[in-house]
């Protein structure tokens, strides 16, 4: 059996027997390993959880953090909810679009970075919040985006 299978069994052991509670941790583990949840990956998760692939797909498509389509090596998510928008999140987003030469929702041509907008990240007093590979950057201004992109492209 694969390392992913074993890791999923360890997650299942945390919850009462017969429950499906491990589905979110299992999908997170699978996505961490594969980058996105292809139909094949979802089938692998389904087998490990002893549920149907359709059930796994129903969960994967409900939650925003699961990628059901391929993404770049890195993920840049700009919060554009009210507070961040008041600080100028849209200008930060446009600066990333210009640096990456792609629109929000797309991946840069070199396959390195997927750019997205995201709903409130829970850092409203410290905006604009940008999550770079899930790490929060606080007080981001348009002039800060080039350095972030450069670091991701180098990494």
């Amino acid at each position: 059996m694969t390392a992913l299978y074993d890791a999923i069994q360890a997650e299942r052991a945390k919850y009462p027997e017969g429950s499906r509670s491990a589905v979110l941790p299992a999908l997170r583990l699978a996505q961490d390993e594969h980058g996105w949840l292809s139909p094949d990956v979802m089938r692998e998760v389904a087998d490990a959880l002893e549920v149907t692939p359709a059930f796994v797909a129903s969960i994967a498509t409900f939650y925003d953090q699961f990628n059901t389509e391929p993404v770049g090596e890195h993920l840049v998510e700009v919060c554009t909810n009210v507070s961040c928008a008041l600080y100028g999140a849209q200008q930060v987003l446009e600066s990333f679009e210009s640096d990456l030469d792609c629109h929000a929702g797309e991946t840069s041509a070199d396959g390195k970075v997927t750019l997205r907008t995201i709903e409130c990240l829970g850092g409203c007093g410290w905006g604009t919040i940008v999550a770079v590979d899930h790490r929060y950057h606080l007080y981001v201004k348009p002039e800060d985006t080039a350095a972030i992109v450069e670091e991701l492209r180098a990494g």
Binding site: S19, R20, S21, L24, Y63, N81, S83, E119, C120
Partner: protein, 441 residues
């Protein structure tokens, strides 16, 4: 009442177990365990603590609803709602990051009070930073049999869904399903996670339990004002000089929260305060002239609004209220779980009409239609998501009607691109931009 910072929850910030214990940490856990569960609940009842998640339900009463194991012979669960996702609210983020052990001590005391050996902390998936702090703190506690006892604490990470902050949707999600609210009753206290009696409490509520035991329920109930006792961690954001979390006694003037130098610090660049969202984006808006009000449950209720999750968002004179409506409506449209038709369809229609208003394409009849759609969501769904969206947007129209009408009369936005909320790309609009996959291509 002076607008002073009063830290019980955020005091003596440390992520280290040794440092926390050096300032009396985990002493209240030992004291609580020497008491019966009913005695601990009595202290909470005496403190008059109300839940800090937003619904403001009396915590001690919630605990007292859990049936005895003779009545329902099933394990009891404590589920902590760390799914903080309300726009404007970021207090739980700070509490988990700065005082993880106070939070864990509160969880362990509560587990004793509700006779539970199983604790699940449902933490939103985006909170990688707070999760790691909490995980490290829990690892330390797990090594200490005198602290963890026979309690099992599982950190369960969400995966991006605002709706999972609603307690029954959270329970569904924890059970491995799509996060869609349940019909109530039965309430979680009788049948929650895995069909067992379950107490669902917020992060701040948990972190408030140890200080309540430390100072006593009676002393805690002397802080704050009638119906809003103790302290509250308030998130201040938007057009203020000092965005941040401030722990204060409820009842201080909202004006001071925004303008006092050691709190919000006022509106930057001397601009005029136009409006304030007092308790997260789902609450009814206040105009800049309505801030001479106590920041507490009763005072805000009189203005038909609420402390909610204590997220104060300040908006200066440049902000277009129609654009605010668009952005708030887009959020709720995106986060509607799709279970109840009035919310799923209604939030979509709200966004569509608001976008037409902003573009200058709408007629006066459409403004009436917007309010009609809001009215048709209210009270017709299983959970408050759609309803709060409708009430919030309807309040923008009620308090800034002339601005909405101006968009119609001028056939366009009077603010144009000078408002900071002009053409902000929301996720729901971003998804619409992504071209559909061509079948057979």
């Amino acid at each position: 009442m002076p607008a002073e910072i009063k830290e019980l929850v955020l005091a003596d910030a440390t992520t280290s177990l040794a440092e926390y214990e050096a300032t009396g940490g985990y002493e209240q856990l030992a004291r609580a365990r020497a008491m019966t569960p009913a005695e601990v609940t009595d202290v909470l009842l005496e403190s008059q603590l109300r839940g800090r998640g937003g619904a403001f339900f009396a915590t001690g009463r919630k605990w007292s609803f859990v049936p005895s194991k003779e009545q329902i012979p099933k394990p009891h669960y404590l589920v902590v709602n760390a799914d903080e996702s309300e726009p404007g609210s970021f207090k739980d983020n700070e509490i988990l990051s700065r005082v993880p052990h106070r939070f864990l001590e509160g969880c362990l005391i509560t587990a004793h009070a509700v006779d539970s050996k199983g604790v699940f902390v449902y933490i939103r998936g985006e909170y990688s930073g707070p999760y790691e702090v909490l995980k490290a703190a829990l690892d330390e506690v797990m090594k200490r049999a005198d602290l963890i006892g026979d309690v099992d604490i599982v950190l369960h990470r969400g995966a991006g869904a605002y709706i999972c902050g609603e307690e029954t949707a959270l329970i569904e999600s924890l059970e491995g399903k799509r996060g869609q609210p349940r019909s109530k009753p039965p309430f979680p206290a009788i049948s929650g996670v895995y069909g067992s009696p379950t107490v669902v409490n917020n992060v701040e509520t948990m972190a408030t339990v140890p200080p309540i035991l430390a100072i006593g329920g009676e002393a805690y109930a002397k802080l704050g004002v009638e119906d809003s006792r103790g302290t509250r961690v308030v998130s201040v954001s938007g057009h203020v000089v000092n965005g941040g979390n401030y722990e204060i006694e409820p009842g201080i003037p909202l004006r001071d929260l925004i303008y006092a130098e050691h709190l919000g610090g006022g509106v930057p660049d001397g601009r005029r305060l136009k409006a304030v969202i007092p308790g997260g984006s789902s609450t009814v808006i206040l105009t800049g002239d309505e801030i001479d009000v106590g920041y507490d449950f009763d005072s805000l209720s009189k203005l038909h609004t609420a402390m909610g999750s204590a997220g104060v968002i300040c908006l200066d004179e440049r902000v277009c209220m129609v654009q605010l409506g668009v952005r708030v409506s887009e959020f709720y449209e995106h986060e509607s779980c799709g279970k109840c038709t009035p919310c799923r369809e209604g939030t979509r229609w709200m966004t569509a009409i608001l976008r037409r208003l902003e573009a200058g394409d709408a007629t006066r009849r459409e403004l009436d239609l917007l309010l009609d759609v809001c009215d048709r969501i209210n009270g017709k769904c299983l959970c408050p998501l759609g309803e709060t969206a409708a009430m919030a947007v309807a309040s923008y129209v009620a308090k800034f009607r002339e601005e909405f009408v101006a968009h119609i009369d001028q056939a366009g936005c009077p603010f144009g691109d000078s408002s900071p909320l002009d053409h902000v790309l929301a996720p729901v609009a971003m998804h619409a931009l992504v071209p559909a996959v061509e079948v057979g291509a």
